[in-house]
């Protein structure tokens, strides 16, 4: 009954005309950037963040969340029609989706991707709704030691799941913490690493760093080589999958939704990993695994369900604990903070309109996405035809305007260009940006909770081992850190797909 009351509050917020408009803008831009290669949801969210300064927090978060789950829908279109994933989470959709398109079945592939995304997205919102309240109540018992160790655990899992060398990922996380701590000390207001620059007093902005690492560097990588894209020329027809298609996909949709949701809760690129694991599971349980890679519709339904379900799961740690499990959620945390809202266990009680408004807006957003991605598929196919030589100047222009609009300072443009170069070199030398950004956001929170814990315990580090949850988190974190030294764990880690391998 209480849940129904909350849903009522949520819908009364989500259905306000302004919030509906921002929800539409979010899912529309999400689909657009999902379709377009060269700019991902992180870049798009940081680009549009300044636009939300004048809106209510509800409208801002509804729009930014819409970009995230909308991009998962759009990513499949390029995978199926061009064999190039718009998003890393849609990489596996290429395997069977493109094959289906070559066989003249682009319509059912696109249809199943959209319906699968809708079903899984909706199921994951139900999961979020059911799981978030008890978890938030439980989190009320957490103190600084629990928060500190949970953040360490989250960061460690992200590093564990990072592609390639773990020391490199750890180094990036350490670099991110240092960047995050620049500015005034939150306890005694002492300037730290500001080099007497007034612009650094408030710290380095999240937006210029993210835009540089994920926007500018991507453009640089794309212009260093000539890109050619071949779009399937066959006419797209019969978007509604047949009953045979549905019958073949039902198991994949259910398994993909469950897998995606629970993997999404874990830190570190849940949408990407869950889509790969879903594909592997479907191939394993199939009576005809030889069909996979040759146009099996389950190979589209499972991963697309999984990557959308993961987006709902990813909201749980952010909304209930205030800890973002991935870079995109870190961006959302930044947006919450800009609007003066602290996500965490108290948010549900202090800001029920925002909490439930965002959740219910996802139902509405998923409905809008179904319309955007089925009857309007033709528009996205046309968007795909825009050549990169026209696209990249516009991406750069939006990055420049977006970054400048945050603080109306040219300093941020310089920071963005600097991190564009850093990001470009990082990609060349196999360093990942995700641990850096997550550590950048978590760094100040970690420092704060570490210092509070030590003050509480009068300098006794055993506080992290005598409280059960803190101890469990630390032991798990240590396990993930040393696991590459164990041969079978090292082998398992290498098998995990990541954005970089995509």
């Amino acid at each position: 009954m209480e849940l129904l009351n909350y849903l009522g509050i949520g819908f009364s917020v989500a259905l306000q005309p302004e919030n509906l408009l921002y929800c539409f803008i979010g899912v529309f831009i999400g689909t657009l950037i999902g379709v377009l290669p060269g700019i991902g949801p992180v870049g798009a969210m940081s680009l549009l963040l300044p636009l939300t300064f004048k809106t209510t927090p509800e409208a801002a978060i509804i729009m930014l969340a819409g970009i995230y789950y909308g991009s998962m829908y759009g990513g499949s279109t390029t995978s199926i029609l061009v064999n190039i994933p718009g998003e890393a989470a849609s990489v596996v959709t290429c395997l069977d989706g493109y094959q289906m398109a070559l066989q003249g079945r682009a319509g059912p592939a696109l249809g199943m991707a959209a319906f699968g995304s809708f079903i899984a997205g909706t199921l994951s919102i139900v999961g979020l709704m059911v799981l978030a309240p008890p978890l938030a109540n439980f989190a009320l018992k957490f103190g600084p030691p629990e928060y500190f160790t949970l953040m360490i655990l989250g960061l460690t899992i992200l590093i564990y799941l990072a592609h390639g060398s773990m020391p490199k990922a750890l180094l990036m996380a350490a670099f991110g913490i240092v960047l995050g701590l620049i500015g005034l000390d939150s306890i005694n207001a002492r300037p730290r690493f500001t080099f007497d620059r007034l612009e650094l007093i408030d710290g380095v902005g999240l937006v210029p760093i993210v835009m540089g690492l994920f926007g500018i560097s991507e453009v640089l990588l794309n212009i260093e080589q000539v890109i050619r894209r071949e779009i399937i020329k066959t006419k797209i027809k019969n978007l509604l999958p047949s009953s045979k298609d549905w019958w073949e996909s039902k198991g994949a949709l259910a398994r993909g939704s469950l897998l995606g949701f629970f993997l999404g809760i874990l830190p570190g690129g849940g949408a990407i990993i869950s889509s790969f694991i879903s594909y592997a599971v479907e191939k394993r349980v199939s009576k005809h695994p030889e069909r996979f890679g040759k146009g099996a519709i389950e190979g589209v339904a499972g991963p697309e369900a999984a990557n959308n379900a993961a987006t709902g799961g990813a909201f749980i740690p952010l909304m209930t604990l205030g800890i973002p499990p991935n870079v995109i959620m870190a961006m959302l945390l930044g947006a919450f903070m800009i609007h003066g809202v602290q996500p965490g266990p108290l948010m549900m009680k202090q800001n029920p309109g925002l909490f439930w408004g965002v959740i219910t807006s996802m139902y509405i957003g998923n409905g809008m996405l179904l319309i955007l991605n089925l009857p309007l598929i033709g528009i996205w196919v046309q968007v795909l035809r825009i050549p990169y030589r026209i696209l990249f100047p516009l991406i750069l222009l939006f990055c420049l305007i977006g970054v400048y609009s945050v603080g109306n300072t040219v300093f941020d443009i310089y920071i963005m260009i600097l991190f564009g170069i850093v990001g470009y070199l990082m990609k060349k030398f196999d360093y990942e940006g995700a641990p850096l950004v997550l550590a950048f956001v978590l760094g100040p929170l970690m420092e704060n909770n570490l210092r509070k814990s030590l003050i509480m315990s009068q300098g006794d580090f055993s506080i992290f081992f005598t409280r059960p949850l803190a101890a469990a988190s630390l032991i798990l974190a240590i396990f993930f850190l040393v696991s590459p030294l164990i041969p079978w764990m090292r082998k398992k880690r290498k098998e995990i797909p990541t954005e970089e391998t995509a």
Partner: protein
């Protein structure tokens, strides 16, 4: 960088374990960075690579001049952005970008730049209320 962070942290005051100071976290993260950098260095040195192979993999068939020129123009844009203002600085930037990487005709480049700039100006400045610099034209 780790050494610099470590020194900076030490300089900021480490405090005590009972009351950690402003430099406490910097200092220890700096130590971790130094350790990790050494680790990465040792791992890289242990890897057997064919001489020149890395250079070949990373940098061959790369349109170097394009990247450098785009970066240089972006820096120049940032430098003149507030003085010239949004419109006067953005139109030449876009003309360059449209022409630089995959050359297009002058007409397309100029028209595309003017349309894109004015559209962006209308959306961001007029509709969304961003405060883009007025510059020489004094528009804003």
């Amino acid at each position: 960088m780790g050494i610099g962070v470590c020194y900076g942290g030490y300089d900021l005051e480490l405090g005590t374990l009972q009351a950690p100071g402003s430099g406490f976290m910097f200092f220890w993260v700096g130590i971790i960075m130094i350790g990790l950098s050494l680790g990465v260095l040792i791992l890289a040195m242990r890897e057997t690579a064919i001489p020149g192979e890395l250079k070949k993999v990373l940098w061959t068939e790369i349109r170097w001049k394009k990247i450098v020129s785009v970066l240089a123009v972006l820096l120049l844009y940032a430098y003149v952005f507030t003085t010239l203002g949004f419109i006067l600085s953005t139109i030449p930037l876009l003309i360059f970008l449209f022409k630089a990487v995959e050359p297009q005709s002058w007409t397309k480049a100029i028209l595309g730049s003017i349309i894109s700039t004015l559209t962006a100006y209308s959306v961001f400045q007029l509709w969304l209320g961003s405060q883009l610099p007025r510059g020489l034209l004094g528009i804003g």
